[in-house]
Subunit: 426 residues, 2 copies
């Protein structure tokens, strides 16, 4: 990929306070570029910063900023004037005080739902894509791409349009019609691959190494270090919306595990910057039983995550070989949290529980998170007297099929008062 | 309905600056209560206010308020502390500067999309329901209800849950499965009526007059005067987001016509209160050709709206006998606007146009609005050199069927570079 197309001087300015990519495994530092693996040890690269040391000034600047992730521009690999560039302006979604759900679950220490269904394409993917878009702008890339099973495809398609990029998105050819529509409607190229999601991924890696891929930014491959930073904004928003303090527990769904590890990174940054007071917090990971490699490793006490073949209705979490799995295990153990799983029936029950207690209709990933929260409390792994935040990463409209078979009218009647009385609802 | 359950003294406090209901036809005033028709002339009742006369103080208070419709509490029939009560906190959705769409349409004076798909249940209905909920609270009602073909049912179901009401919502029994799920998932009673939407409406009117309906608030019937006020917040937000000034043109979809008339009411209030400078503005109404009673009357120069039998994919606008039709005609003519219509094919094209230019996926009602905007420009009815705002009232995920038949992958390939090259996309 054409790292050389951008002069280093411009580059360091345009990435704000980000100064390098750093290998998570061996610490090797490389210049900011569209690369994702350490040339020394093949470990994952992540963004390193030199932050200003003025917590009061920083906090005031954030609070005066736009109502989107861009209020945290000084903590992200983006230019200071990022909010003036055309993009979807995701983030600063609602942190909902979930008193009714808390009562149902026996939580007495306070429960909040961070509801990311309020993002522009109704999933948390808008956060990560927005950062990848700015990286692509900095690197002079012209086409945005990704492999996806749904949410990411829509987020990339929409973001590309607004930011003025071409897009070419790859999906398994046999996706449900609704997801294909969401991915295709923004008018970029949408390519169905005859194969599984793993085949799509392998093909994308091939494309990056080929001249065809010159000028392409794959949000979740060669732009992954930037993309991942978008998840930190969930941590920032939760703490700011709580009044600049840490919650006791956060329950987070696991697909690749990137969201969970980056939320932990974000919390650590807030502590180091003095934006929140340091105190212990616990990070909990949530998986579906049909795709539980990290939960299984956590329970078995393993450091290594053994890949599985996914079989769950929670398609957006169905990554059988999660790249950040080992880091998730580290964080859950370091903070005194856990990684738990629930089966598909519990996922559906949890979607309905959240809907009927808080009026929030979550996609299956949200059902996994709320289902796991319930199980963690019931099994004594999460203290109900502590303050807990659970993350709903997407919208129920995207996974209607999950609840459709068991969600229907209470009664069908004729349009008469007698018929209504007979139904026994009056 | 039990107006008497609330003492007048409490009532006037709890409704903020609202002081009475006033008949739009004859001006008769009655106390604030769950009534919707004038006892003298059967005209529609609307909320009358005594506003404070301090524009600078009011503007500062609004700007310091929450990022929801509640920042405008002093201009709504709600208590001053409404933001502290549990509800969905809708509103303050994005006003998107639509430069790419403007270029496609030849608009040079500036074009914005007010994107109400960002509301909690992803349609503008959350605004109107939120006001109805506060009225129901004031009147001591315990069950929220409505007749609906989709969006409103979901909005009422979700709002009832959050605000702590029972809900019982009525729909035609043969709605699409997806819409039934959205209406049922929040766990209130959902009753399918064997009949058309008109039958559902008639049944609801019967229910209000029956002892069964005691304590029930029908958002779009006996709470209609309050419910309608929610649409004013679209006018407030548009002007505030433009920097406290009026646009030249606003294009608004027409179902009952209430949204359009209440946006005009909101603009007039802002002018009278001195929050924006007075200047001419034009209000345009948008209908589907398959349900065009107001557009037909406008073109024919009639004052009376002749009912039609709706046949359009824009189901959320399919009201054949729109209650506020005559008022819409008045406003379009008074302001120098127009009422136009587009056919279903143009609706689909407009949904795709908005998606591929701005990354906004609108439901069919949004397609009607954008399609009409395009037609108004092409026919010389709307000045492209003037500043225009068009309203997207709901989310494309709610009406996937409209675009599904014509929205799919650009290509299906094998997972090889050769296969990709053959597809001609590289």
């Amino acid at each position: 990929m054409a790292v050389e197309t951008v002069a280093p001087a411009t580059r360091s300015t345009d990435f704000g306070n980000a100064v390098a990519l750093s290998c998570r495994e061996c610490g090797e530092r490389v210049p900011l570029g569209p690369v994702f693996a350490c040339a020394v040890c093949f470990g994952p690269l992540e963004v390193a910063y030199e932050f200003p040391a003025d917590p009061e000034g920083l906090r005031a600047r954030i609070e005066a900023g736009p109502h989107s992730i861009w209020r945290y521009a000084p903590l992200l690999p983006v230019p200071a004037d990022v909010a003036t560039k055309p993009n979807l302006d995701p983030g600063f979604t609602k942190l909902v005080k979930a008193d009714r759900l808390a009562r149902e679950l026996g939580v007495t220490g306070g429960l909040h739902i961070k509801d990311d269904s309020g993002n522009p394409t109704h999933s948390f993917k808008d956060r990560v894509v927005a950062i990848a878009v700015e990286a692509a702008r900095n690197f002079g890339l012209t086409t945005l791409s990704c492999s996806s099973t749904g949410n990411l495809a829509g987020a990339v398609g929409a973001a590309a349009v607004r930011a003025g990029f071409k897009s070419c998105v790859f999906i398994p050819h046999d996706l449900e019609s609704g997801k294909v529509v969401m991915a295709a409607v923004y008018g970029g190229d949408l390519v169905g691959i005859e194969g599984t999601y793993d085949d799509v991924n392998r093909f994308c890696s091939e494309l990056i190494g080929d001249p065809i891929g010159e000028g392409w930014g794959f949000t979740n491959v060669n732009l992954r270090p930037y993309y991942g930073e978008g998840s930190k904004t969930l941590a920032y928003e939760i703490c700011e919306q709580l009044g600049w303090r840490l919650p006791d527990n956060i329950v987070i769904p696991i697909a690749s595990g990137s969201q969970l590890t980056k939320i932990d990174k974000g919390l650590q940054e807030l502590i180091k910057l003095g934006l929140v007071e340091e105190k212990p917090y616990r990070i909990y990971g949530a998986q579906a039983a049909g795709c539980n490699p990290v939960a299984a490793a956590f329970k078995a006490g393993h450091d290594v995550v053994r890949p599985v073949k996914p079989d769950t209705i929670a398609k957006s979490l169905a990554i059988g070989n999660p790249a950040d799995g080992p880091y998730v295990l580290d964080i859950a153990r370091r903070t005194g949290g856990a990684v738990e799983e629930v089966d598909d029936e519990q996922v559906v029950d949890a979607i309905k529980l959240l809907a009927r207690t808080e009026g929030i209709f979550a996609e299956t990933a949200g059902g996994v998170t709320i289902g796991v929260l319930k199980k963690l409390i019931e099994t004594g792994q999460l203290d109900p007297a502590a303050e807990t935040v659970a993350i709903n990463t997407g919208d129920g409209l995207k996974t209607l099929d999950a609840v459709a078979p068991t969600t229907g009218p209470t009664a069908i009647i004729r349009p008469t008062l007698d018929s209504f009385r007979e139904a026994g609802l009056a």
